[in-house]
């Protein structure tokens, strides 16, 4: 279990106050709440896009909050996916492997493994802009996990998909988390995500854990 502490920030018209929050070592820990409840703010603090005094994140004896962003070794999938549009799917995934300093041979093997797991073979050599919604999401997932992150962070990852595709995408995420054996934090407002994936659910409202 990892422990988030002292996540407090005053935005003026909105206050985030999370004194303590436990994230499981296995499976999906979900942070659930309505729009404007502070979910994405928590996400931004966890990945290091924002900082505040007193914030600590104890992960197996190491305080991740004190580490610079790259050293936190997190896998991230944003709501908007944020694939690099000028790169192919393969280059997008390889970028993350390079960034983590994974040797070329190992990166190739990992890519083959993930490509099989996520059924990406047909998409690998296409530009990100030419991928379908489902393919884009699978590429984002492969990119997030190729560097063997400590934790996978997912910010509303299914909200851009239509209802039919969501069920399929949830299964894919579940498959990846099981295969890679990494804990995941899921930020969502969709109860369907909780039913399908979450092992533990924490509710947030108006910046506070309920």
């Amino acid at each position: 279990m990892s422990l988030v502490r002292g996540l407090k920030h005053d935005y003026g018209d909105f206050k985030l106050d999370v004194p303590e929050w436990e994230i499981l070592d296995r499976g999906v820990t979900a942070l659930w709440g309505p729009s404007g409840s502070g979910k994405t703010s928590v996400f931004r603090f966890l990945i290091g896009l924002e900082a505040c005094r007193g914030f600590s994140w104890d992960f197996k004896g190491e305080d991740l909050a004190r580490l610079p962003v790259p050293a936190r070794r997190l896998g991230v999938v944003f709501q908007s996916l944020e694939l690099f549009p000028h790169m192919t799917a393969r280059e997008n995934i390889a970028f993350a492997a390079d960034a983590r300093g994974i040797a070329a041979g190992e990166a190739r093997a990992r890519l083959a493994e993930l490509s099989l797991l996520l059924d990406l073979d047909q998409a690998l050599d296409r530009r990100a802009t030419l991928l379908s919604g489902g393919e884009r999401q699978r590429v984002a997932l492969a990119r997030a996990v190729i560097g063997k992150p400590r934790i996978l962070l997912l910010d509303e990852p299914f909200s851009a998909l239509d209802v039919d595709r969501r069920a399929e995408a949830r299964k894919l995420v579940e498959r990846v988390i099981e295969a890679e054996r990494i804990p995941a934090v899921l930020i969502t407002h969709d109860r369907g995500d909780l039913d399908a994936l979450a092992v533990k659910v924490t509710e947030i409202r108006e910046g506070r854990i309920v």
Partner: protein, 484 residues
């Protein structure tokens, strides 16, 4: 992180350098008599107010015309053209279509030619984004165009129109090229006064005092105007109550007048320049030197501008750094030229370097505000992901950002080069004799040889366009190489 801070510090110092040079080199100021200052500031404010008022009125009618062409880019591009080309073209066109143009009316006319199209496109964007939905609703409920514009649209965008007025007022207040050529002896603006104190009087400490007062005035204006003015070209959406097809004539008239002004005088210029008395009587031997001077200055300006933009991209300023760049008011042409003049006295190639540096210092903040900041902002999500994935800053810069930015960067560099081909205002302060084709055109305008001036300006236009195309092509090559 240190690299990014150093990059930002170098941009910060470069942008402030004209002010720093002036304050270091001239610790004492002695302003001209208060009565003279009051008269000059009063006239400057008057011409700026009339120019802004006329531009906003004509531009607002033009906006209704542009709204009748939703989703079409060409009317907006044509409307913006007078604001995008060097002021030299517009001034010459104004002089060609209005013989004997002088004084307050002439200045206002030229300023309206320069700015009315920009206002039209900006107001059209405002209407499309802020009012169109409401207009559809009012249309369904049976409102007339007149009543909706007066009681629905106008109250909704009156604040934005006021800011637009102040924005154009600030542009006209610090305008140099137009009053320098068209103003005449009884229509002196602050910029012209600074120029006269430098080049005619010469009283440099008085020039500095006037420049400092003008800088404060522009700073106050930019704060009132709300700081940022972003690129107004956007997807426009029409609505029956906001469309008035004849209005497009108001939006496109400035561009049409500029083209007509050049075309009408070109045959005379060709006859004078290339006819039996030619070629280029009186200055034929100078042409290769002036052409080389223009090409050198423009290319260097484009390169420096690109370098500045790349540095800003690497620095990726946030917080106050970003606010500084968005709110920074570039020093006027006269002040920048004055600061560069103080560095060292010379008459040759070093002057051309100074002109290129000056144009870069003036254009960089505007380019950042209009396009570059938005381009960087659009990549912020990708940068956040790349950082979270463990990528280093140089890797993010080289592999994520620049491949996507080269096109915009080269486009803006090309625009800077294009403007540099047409600059004569800053050049007139820095250079003691004609160094470029634009300076030659300025001299010809001063002696009312409008035919030859038109011919030279056409050469400037062709040279600037070729230079722009060169940068654009280089940007495409860089971009595609970076992506493979």
């Amino acid at each position: 992180m240190i690299g990014r801070r150093l990059a930002f510090a170098s941009v910060f110092i470069c942008l402030l350098s004209p002010f720093l040079i002036l304050f270091v080199r001239f610790p004492t100021w002695s302003p001209p008599p208060a009565s003279e200052l009051a008269a000059v500031f009063g006239f400057t404010a008057l011409q700026a107010a009339l120019s802004a008022l006329a531009s906003v009125l004509i531009g607002s009618i033009g906006a209704l015309g542009l709204m009748a062409y939703p989703g079409r880019a060409w009317p907006r591009m044509v409307a913006l053209a007078p604001n995008a080309v060097p002021a030299l073209l517009v001034i010459l066109a104004a002089m060609n279509v209005w013989p004997g143009i002088r004084g307050l009316a002439g200045i206002v006319f030229a300023h309206v030619l320069l700015n009315a199209g920009l206002v039209a496109v900006s107001v059209a964007a405002l209407l499309a984004t802020r009012v169109a939905g409401l207009a559809d609703l009012a249309y369904i409920e049976g409102a007339t165009r007149r009543s909706f514009l007066a009681r629905g649209a106008l109250p909704l965008i009156s604040g934005d129109l006021a800011r637009l007025f102040l924005f154009v007022f600030a542009l006209c207040f610090s305008s140099f090229a137009v009053p320098l050529v068209i103003g005449g002896s009884r229509a002196t603006t602050v910029e012209v006064l600074i120029y006269e104190q430098i080049r005619v009087a010469p009283d440099w400490s008085a020039a500095l005092a006037v420049a400092a007062l003008q800088t404060l005035a522009i700073l106050a204006l930019s704060l009132l105007a709300g700081g940022t003015a972003r690129s107004p070209i956007g997807a426009a959406r029409g609505s029956p109550l906001l469309e008035w097809r004849p209005g497009v004539a108001f939006a496109l008239a400035p561009a049409a007048i500029v083209v007509a002004g050049l075309v009408v005088r070109l045959p005379q210029g060709l006859a004078q320049g290339l006819g039996p008395g030619g070629p280029w009587p009186g200055f034929g031997g100078e042409l290769p030197r002036l052409l080389a001077g223009s090409a050198f200055t423009a290319t260097l300006s484009g390169i420096l501008c690109m370098a500045g933009l790349v540095l800003i991209a690497f620095a990726r300023p946030r917080g106050w750094g970003r606010r500084f760049l968005l709110g920074f008011v570039a020093p006027s042409s006269a002040l920048t030229g004055f600061a560069l003049l103080l560095l060292w006295r010379d008459t040759g190639w070093a002057s051309l370097v100074k002109i290129a540096v000056g144009i870069t210092l003036i254009s960089l903040p505007a380019f950042h505000r209009l396009r570059w900041d938005g381009a960087l902002d659009a990549l912020s999500g990708q940068v956040a992901v790349a950082r979270a994935l463990g990528a280093s800053e140089p890797r993010i810069f080289a592999r994520v950002m620049m491949p996507q930015l080269w096109g915009t960067c080269a486009f803006l560099g090309g625009l800077s080069a294009f403007w540099a081909w047409g600059d004569f205002a800053l050049s007139a302060v820095v250079g003691e004799r004609a160094l470029t084709l634009a300076m030659l055109a300025h001299g010809l305008l001063g002696s009312y040889r409008l035919g030859l001036a038109t011919l030279v300006v056409c050469a400037v236009l062709i040279g600037g366009s070729l230079n722009f195309a060169l940068f654009w092509g280089v940007g495409r090559v860089f971009g595609s190489r970076a992506q493979t």
